[in-house]
């Protein structure tokens, strides 16, 4: 299992992601600096969270035009899997590898809290097919621009094609604020047409040890990696 984590100026979840992937695969992932143009054959590339290029212009806009993106596109065309977390999701959207847009949180606040995700009925995907539909995972979010927005047609298409990976789900005693950013249809993560590119706002790499308050992130990442090995 060959994995890699991309690093842009301003990425700040790369080390956590490297630790998580090492814990699961037993091998240290390759670090890919944003200027790299040659990328070895890999099974999974993770674009981690952070504030690439200081969020200048738009979140992810400058990172999405970095040299590494061409290599990521080649990796995808070879059938490689890509996971973008938080800023990584924003980068995938800005690179037009996923549709829609991530705009400012509805309440204009940087939101950092636990969210409950519900696995949706998706097309075949290494990121979702290892879970039963309706499985819930508790994974935290931490972002300012995670409010998924797209035209009605795009949303209907995503729903119809089974490309919504998970939605925010109501937590027992939290009836009103379970959706942390106001995203349409409570969308927390979406898949590419072939199911092998996932963008998600929540941070699985932040809940991989009991002392962090949970291990659902580990569960999510290790299940995805098992599916990729199969």
């Amino acid at each position: 299992m060959r994995t890699a984590v991309t690093i842009f100026p301003g990425s700040n979840c790369d080390r956590d992601m490297i630790i998580a992937l090492k814990k699961i695969t037993g091998k240290t992932p390759i670090k890919l600096w944003h200027k790299e143009t040659e990328v070895p054959n890999l099974d999974l590339i993770v674009i981690p969270g952070g504030f690439s290029f200081g969020d200048y212009l738009r979140c992810g806009a400058l990172a999405a035009r970095s040299p590494i993106i061409k290599s990521i596109k080649n990796h995808i065309s070879r059938g490689g899997a890509v996971l973008g977390v938080c800023n990584g999701f924003q980068i995938l959207i800005e690179a037009k590898l996923l549709p829609g847009s991530l705009i400012k949180n509805q309440k204009l606040l940087f939101t950092c809290k636990e969210t409950l995700l519900e696995i949706q009925n998706t097309l075949e995907s290494p990121f979702c097919s290892g879970f039963k539909v309706g499985t819930t995972l508790e994974i935290p979010v931490a972002h300012n621009e995670g409010n998924f927005f797209a035209s009605k047609e795009v949303i209907e298409k995503l729903e119809g094609e089974g490309r919504i990976a998970f939605k925010y789900k109501q937590i027992k005693n939290n009836k009103n604020n379970y959706n942390p950013n106001g995203s349409l249809n409570d969308i927390a993560g979406i898949l590419s047409k072939n199911g092998r590119v996932l963008g998600m706002m929540p941070h699985p790499e932040r809940v991989i040890n009991k002392f962090q308050g949970g291990i659902d992130g580990l569960k999510f990442l290790s299940t995805s990696i098992e599916q990729l090995i199969d």
Binding site: L57, S101, I103, G182
Partner: protein
């Protein structure tokens, strides 16, 4: 030539920043306004003699990176050198 690019959110795209400013204006007693929207302006110089070439290049910049056409409109104004 000086190129002034105005980028604004498309109609129907939520503008929470605009809404927050609207509330502040209302709180300050400004009542006589509506349809507040936040945008941004990018100013740059392109050294070409032909205005249509400048426009084409600026257009290309907007489509490639400066605007996110999923949620934003852009308008290009060119000030010709005197």
């Amino acid at each position: 030539m000086k190129v002034i690019i105005n980028i604004s959110l498309k109609n129907g795209v939520l503008d929470p920043e605009g809404q927050a400013i609207e509330n502040s204006l209302l709180n300050l007693g400004f009542k006589d306004f509506k349809n507040i929207r936040i945008g941004k302006q990018i100013i740059l110089n392109i050294d070409k003699i032909n205005k249509s070439e400048v426009l084409e290049q600026a257009n290309n910049m907007c489509e490639t990176i400066l605007a996110n056409t999923v949620i934003e409109n852009y308008k290009i104004d060119i000030l010709e050198d005197k």
